[in-house]
Symmetry: C2
Subunit: 459 residues, 2 copies
């Protein structure tokens, strides 16, 4: 009998206990972007340390300038892997669109024969990171040891730009460097088709505030003569894209590569259409660059998006005011070799050129990082695809992802380590939105998948 089979059996038998543990973690309101939840973030870190210690890891909460890291180590034979996940979650607003309290997790049947774990963080990323922890726990329980040497890094600032991550990696480079990293923050192609992610878009986040008059003005008294910062902002934001959906900021496409024909062809084979991609969210028509497939748009093309805007009177009723200021949060998804610093500088120059001489603009930098691209034929990728294919009903595919996981770039640049990105999220998980969920199958077979990957890596 292989080492693997009894581990898989153990995972099958302990699914209820593993759910209980995940629920305990989901109940902690670890919203990293809002300072009101700082102590909840620490509580989540402490919970993870205690849980990892119970498995036999040497684990500790490690302070940073922001929310703490969790670092853990377990000895073992063979290769040394560093597993990465994040325990922080997105804010829950608009709260009135949640069917249940976002921090009172439950399992519900979401359609006949399909159960899911409901709650903020169920998929992003608490449910995902616990699939790996549960695989480790089962291996230890069955064999009294790990299949290889395992280190773990859990971050608490992934949803707020990871300001403490680079200083922490730099200060602890020797301790954290392994043969390669395992990252569980991505998704499957569909409910039956597992995926290994070889491309991730980078991110630049900027907050801009335009200042006009030194006070809010009565629009009757001053309207028509005084600068309106909302109008200035609207004009600047409207100018970011041209009539073909391309970003108009000079130099924006420097470093963007055209995706090879054979890769575009393999993506076309997945059968995704604009309708199949957009209809589930109530839309029908691709909004970005023209003449590209939706998969290319979200996996291999850069974007500029306004994530938030506010200015003037936004309460009930009406107020005929010309605001003193207006602001927006804007983010860019980057691909291939686009340089985040250059994009940020080009964006700022683009906006500054659109501010009247008697007004001003303030910029606030939010975190970001370059895109990440792996070789499609890398052995680590190929091995993982093999065992994922054994676990799930359809062959694993190598895909790209639209979201950003800046850490894989940091691992490469700072620790010289490539990352294997395997995850079990689904496109209907509603991550970052009300009623986030994680399929029970994702949680269970995710655990089994990690057991298989650890097994094959140890050989």
């Amino acid at each position: 009998m292989s080492d693997l089979a009894p581990v898989l059996d153990h995972l099958d038998r302990s699914i209820d206990q593993s759910l209980e543990r995940l629920f305990s973690l989901l109940r902690i309101k670890s919203i990293s972007t809002d300072p009101a939840f700082s102590s909840d973030c620490r509580e989540a870190a402490e919970w993870l340390v205690e849980d990892l210690k119970s498995i036999g890891f040497e684990a500790s909460v490690r302070d940073t300038a922001g929310h703490p890291m969790v670092v853990a180590h377990h000895e073992g034979e063979g290769p040394h892997v560093l597993f990465y996940g994040h325990y922080d979650v997105q804010p829950v607003d608009p709260l009135d669109l949640w069917n249940d309290d976002p921090f009172s997790p439950s399992v519900k049947e979401i359609e006949p024969g399909r159960k899911a774990i409901i709650g903020r963080g169920a998929a992003d990323d608490k449910g995902q990171l616990m699939t790996f922890v549960e695989a480790c726990r089962a291996y230890k329980a069955v064999h009294g040891k790990m299949p290889c040497r395992i280190s773990i890094l859990f971050e608490g600032e992934e949803e707020s730009g990871s300001p403490s991550l680079k200083p922490f990696l730099e200060a602890n480079a020797a301790e954290l460097t392994a043969d390669f990293a395992l990252v569980c923050d991505t998704g499957m192609w569909d409910r039956e088709t597992p995926a290994v992610c070889v491309g991730l878009r980078g991110l630049v986040g900027e907050e801009i505030t335009i200042h006009a008059a030194d006070r809010d003005l009565h629009s009757g008294e001053f309207g028509g003569a005084a600068a309106n910062p909302i109008t200035i902002l609207a004009r600047a934001l409207a100018a970011i894209h041209d009539e073909n959906g391309r970003v108009s900021i000079p130099g924006f496409y420097d470093g963007v590569e055209e995706t090879p024909e054979n890769i575009l062809k393999s993506w076309a084979g997945l059968g995704e259409t604009a309708e199949s991609f957009l209809n589930p969210i109530g839309l029908a028509k691709p909004f970005g660059e023209q003449d590209r497939s939706v998969l290319e748009l979200v996996w291999a093309r850069p974007t500029a998006e306004v994530n938030g805007i506010t200015g003037g009177y936004t309460g009930a009723g009406f107020k005929t005011v010309i605001a003193a200021k207006a602001s927006a949060k804007v983010s860019f998804r980057l691909v291939h070799k686009q340089d985040p610093d250059k994009i940020r500088a080009a964006f700022r120059a683009f906006i500054e050129a659109r501010i009247p001489a008697d007004c001003s603009v303030e910029f606030h930098k939010h975190g970001g990082g370059p895109a990440f691209q792996l070789d499609y034929n890398m052995p680590l990728v190929v091995k993982a695809q093999g065992v994922l294919t054994e676990e799930w009903s359809k062959p694993a595919v190598a895909v790209a992802m639209g979201g950003s996981i800046p850490i894989v770039g940091d691992f490469r640049r700072m620790l010289g380590m490539e990352s294997l990105l395997v995850g079990f999220g689904l496109s209907d998980d509603r991550i970052h939105s009300p009623n986030e969920k994680y399929d029970l199958t994702s949680f269970h077979r995710g655990q089994r998948s990690w057991a298989r990957i650890l097994d094959v890596l140890s050989k």
Copy 2:
């Protein structure tokens, strides 16, 4: 001795008591646009009724579908006048920019030798309406009667579009129709120069909400493919003006007349420049239509202004979300014969044409009315200019105003009554803004001015 001199003396001697009465009214938080303050609005109406009864008016609170009206009558010889004012005030946000509690009024020396009443509503419109009430009180105290027959109408919804006003005028037309109306909701030209207002811009208010996906989306997962309602909104708002600052909505300028050369010349003689108009609010450059003076822009040209905008994540930190919806409050200031209904319809069509097929837009109508223009040579205007010139140090001027007072149009159309618009506000009163004030001189000499106007009208 004339009837007037002892009334003016009485007003001089009772300024402290009149201030106490105004403070009592200013302490009432009668913010009409926010339903949370409904009972405060009623309290303000009841306070006014009690005060008017104490002078000898037959006064009552009159219910409407919204906030109540105050109606009062006092017999007298000679012409019958209807005085109009409003007891409701604007919201106070942003509260952190107030130096004091907006509803704890006080008198402060704002520069050497210049005192002002500080608080929300001090100038707009509680301080102004009390100048008339105090003039009545003094006349009655001195002579035991009024100089003419006086009716009063105080509204509680002026700052929220006056939804109940037209139905109320219609239902009570016989009771409210007088020979002419007196309205105190305008300003002086400067601290020494009183003004009679013969032109007022109209108003159309619209709230638009653009809906895209049926939920908030992760910008990494869907960015580049899914419609962003903030971007759609920004593009639509940016398109409202052309590169010369003119409004691009088809038909918008129908009914707009060019101001006669002699009027433009008299305005030019007032010595206002772009710098003198805009520098006090921290600006320098006219923002609207090019090649027109600032006085023409705010007195005689129509505008389109965005008064508020909101969409996506606007809290602390950053959230990489593509919002499900975004909304803006937009208002238009109308002049001359522009038709509010046609402007509203044209705006809606203009926006609808800019909404992608898979998105939608919702419109919410806020109140409004057409512009108002009096003949510059009307006898009522000329008489008032004469006595205002006696009270103040410089001759009274006939001007236009940028703001809207829709009631004067309603008085004309529904009650066949013209309105005399005289007020004592100053351009630095910060109405609708934090730290609203009303000069003590405005309050005191405003009372004396009304006494003079009542006196001349009675002859």
